[in-house]
């Protein structure tokens, strides 16, 4: 019995990190979507989650938030259980998940972001409305406050979702493909807001599908395809080798070289 070595209790996940996971496995049925994933995002930075379709990027965000059950692994948000940190996490889901004919105005949607403060009972006051309008102004949508959301363009809808997250005054922003299907003006407006969040010391983690803008927008990158392929600062991590490993044959060698050059 003497030669059995005791497995040490692992170090706790870094409490400074806004979002850290270890050994995260998530499965739909018996097919894992993520397998034993480790990741640790830096505080006060903009981080991208990059990988091919079906690599588990959105699944990662949902599992980190506890929206879908995990098979194994641990998730820590600022060193604590994500369930207890809900007010400090703002989540912007994919735009497609909503019924756009729902009877609600842009301002109402942003007010939903105040749910944590208003709760079940308290009245929505003029102060709450003023705060919501200020969030709309921050994404350039103050003139659209009273529009029913179905009357807005795709880019404008995405900005409303971002304003709802802003209203929450969170420290960690999780965005699922915020630039999917939006116009150039909206992309510029959203990235401007995200950079201002970073300047305020908040952390942003976004699932991102456009490889050509990773180096321009983000500081930190997690390349994922079922497992973690690579993670670290964009400058050193977003390379031809890691891209080839994450995307396999799906990206041509020429494409990869061009992207990695931009990043390097």
């Amino acid at each position: 019995m003497a030669d059995l070595t005791l497995i040490e209790t692992p170090e706790p996940l870094d409490p400074a990190s806004p979002l850290a996971v270890r050994g995260l496995t998530v499965s739909y049925g018996e097919k894992p979507a993520l397998f034993s994933l480790d990741a640790q995002f830096p505080v006060g930075a903009m981080s991208a989650i990059v990988g091919p379709n079906g690599a588990g990027k959105s699944t990662f965000l949902k599992a980190a938030l506890g929206l879908i059950p995990k098979v194994s692994g641990e998730v820590s948000v600022f060193g604590r259980d994500a369930d207890r940190m809900r007010d400090r996490i703002a989540y912007v889901p994919q735009r497609a998940s909503v019924d756009w004919d729902f009877p609600t105005t842009a301002l109402d949607v942003v007010l939903m972001g105040l749910f944590g403060q208003v709760g079940l009972w308290r009245r929505i006051t003029g102060q709450h409305r003023a705060h919501a309008r200020a969030c709309l102004a921050r994404v350039g949508m103050e003139d659209f406050a009273d529009r029913q959301i179905g009357q807005l363009s795709g880019g404008q809808q995405q900005r409303i979702f971002l304003a709802r997250a802003l209203a929450q005054d969170a420290d960690l922003f999780l965005l699922d493909e915020p630039f999917a299907g939006v116009d150039a003006a909206t992309e510029a407006a959203i990235i401007g807001v995200l950079k201002s969040l970073k300047a305020e010391g908040r952390s942003v983690v976004a699932v991102h599908h456009d490889l050509s803008t990773v180096a321009e927008y983000f500081d930190h990158v997690l390349l994922v395809n079922l497992r973690r392929i690579a993670e670290g600062p964009v400058a050193t991590t977003f390379t031809a080798d890691t891209l080839a490993e994450a995307y396999g044959g799906r990206l041509g060698a020429v494409q990869i070289d061009a992207l990695a050059l931009q990043g390097g």
Binding site: G66, V98, F102, P103, T104, T105, F115, V118, D183
Partner: protein, 401 residues
């Protein structure tokens, strides 16, 4: 007729007034509670819940008779119906979660099985020698005839309690109906909110059994919210407008049925609500049929006016008779087909607009703005005055070159 008016004004006696009050409150609860179901796109689940009440009514009657009662206690019958409706609801949820059946198929299966069982039980009960079976079939279509005072009070109090529960739960229910993923991320327990929503529906169904009947209670849950949607773009208003429509329908329906006791109450209440729906369908300013026809007309007129003026500006002949008619009616064209002074001014304006658009689309780099060119929208609606001035200076320099 005077009987109907008396009942409407709560003047047809204490009992009738209580029944009308109960119907109003129940209608309000059904409209408001049904709104969340409608917004969550699960309206049909209420049909399964309603039909699943019937076996509970039968079993409760048999049990009460077996223990020596006459089986007429409304509370006892409603308690039985609530239990079997809950089982029906669980059956639908279970099938959707554990099998590959879609929700509509699960609803159909539960609805028919439970209703079939209920009809069998009622037939058995008709053959029983003990108990007072008369009146049980009122649970199918609803009736105010022979309703006891305590029954009416039960319905009224139940209605108030349900409305209170809806008011308390309105925020999480709206949040879950609109964006369940976001609600879950905010720490709202979506499954429990959904269950609470179903609990409200179940309570409305059970409380409304005697008055509206299980076959038509689903209409009172669905028609008011669908009607209210015609009048508001905000969820909170939809809920309370639907409550008001349901309340008025219940009130008028109960009064009507009190003045003509042979009529079943449920169908009358539902017909009143349907009347409100038909009026809204036609006349709603934003979503109604009339408004849609008028908007289409206005659009068609704009297209023909613009096409006609463009043709005039280019001195092309106009053959379309509607175009000619519109230009003449608006004073742009003389009867002999020559442009009036106003017509010439309009032509010049439109020609300049087209020229500005063509330059803007060539030179301006924001496709979000230039993409709004559709042949109809004036450029001044899209670009700011300083941008228009810039476009005009480009036109001038191109003309000079």
């Amino acid at each position: 007729m005077s009987g109907f008016l008396d009942a409407l004004l709560f003047q047809a006696g204490y009992n009738a007034a209580l029944v009308a009050l109960g119907a109003t409150l129940l209608g309000f609860a059904a409209g408001a509670g049904g709104s969340f179901l409608f917004l969550r796109k699960r309206a049909l689940v209420s049909d399964a819940v309603a039909h699943a009440t019937l076996p509970g009514v039968g079993i409760a009657f048999i049990l009460m008779v077996a223990f020596g009662g006459d089986g007429r206690s409304l509370i006892g019958l409603l308690a039985g119906s609530a239990v079997s409706a809950w089982l029906g609801l669980l059956a639908v949820e279970w099938m959707v979660r554990r099998t590959r059946l879609p929700e509509d198929a699960a609803i159909g299966a539960v609805l028919s099985v439970f209703f079939g069982l209920g009809v069998v039980l009622l037939t058995v009960i008709q053959g029983m020698s003990r108990g007072r079976q008369a009146g049980l079939e009122d649970f199918l279509l609803g009736s105010t005839a022979g309703m006891l005072r305590q029954d009416a009070i039960l319905i009224a109090v139940g209605g108030v309690l349900i409305v209170g529960a809806i008011w308390l739960l309105r925020r999480p229910m709206t949040l879950v109906a609109f964006d369940p993923a976001f609600a879950a991320a905010r720490g709202v327990d979506v499954r429990r909110v959904d269950l609470a929503m179903m609990g409200v529906v179940l309570a409305v169904t059970v409380i409304g059994l005697k008055l509206v009947g299980l076959i038509l209670i689903v209409a009172l849950l669905i028609i008011p919210p669908v009607t209210a949607r015609f009048w508001s773009e905000r969820a909170e208003s939809v809920v309370w407008i639907a409550g008001a429509i349901g309340g008025v329908s219940g009130w008028i329906g109960a009064a009507w049925s009190a003045s003509a006791p042979a009529l079943p109450t449920g169908p009358i209440i539902v017909l009143v609500a349907t009347g409100a729906f038909a009026v809204s369908l036609m006349l709603s300013p934003a979503r109604g049929v009339v408004a849609a026809v008028m908007a289409r007309r206005a659009f068609q007129t704009r297209v023909h006016r613009r096409q006609g003026l463009l043709a005039l500006a280019r001195s092309e002949p106009i053959h379309d008779r509607l175009t000619l008619k519109i230009l003449r009616n608006e004073g742009f064209l003389r009867p002999d087909g020559v442009a009036t002074e106003a017509g010439q001014r309009a032509c010049a304006r439109i020609a300049r607009d087209e020229q500005r658009w063509s330059v803007a689309r060539r030179l301006h780099h924001d496709t979000g703005l230039t993409g709004r060119y559709d042949g109809l929208t004036p450029i001044t609606d899209v670009f700011t005055p300083d941008e228009i001035a810039w476009i005009d200076s480009n036109i001038a320099s191109e003309g000079a070159a």
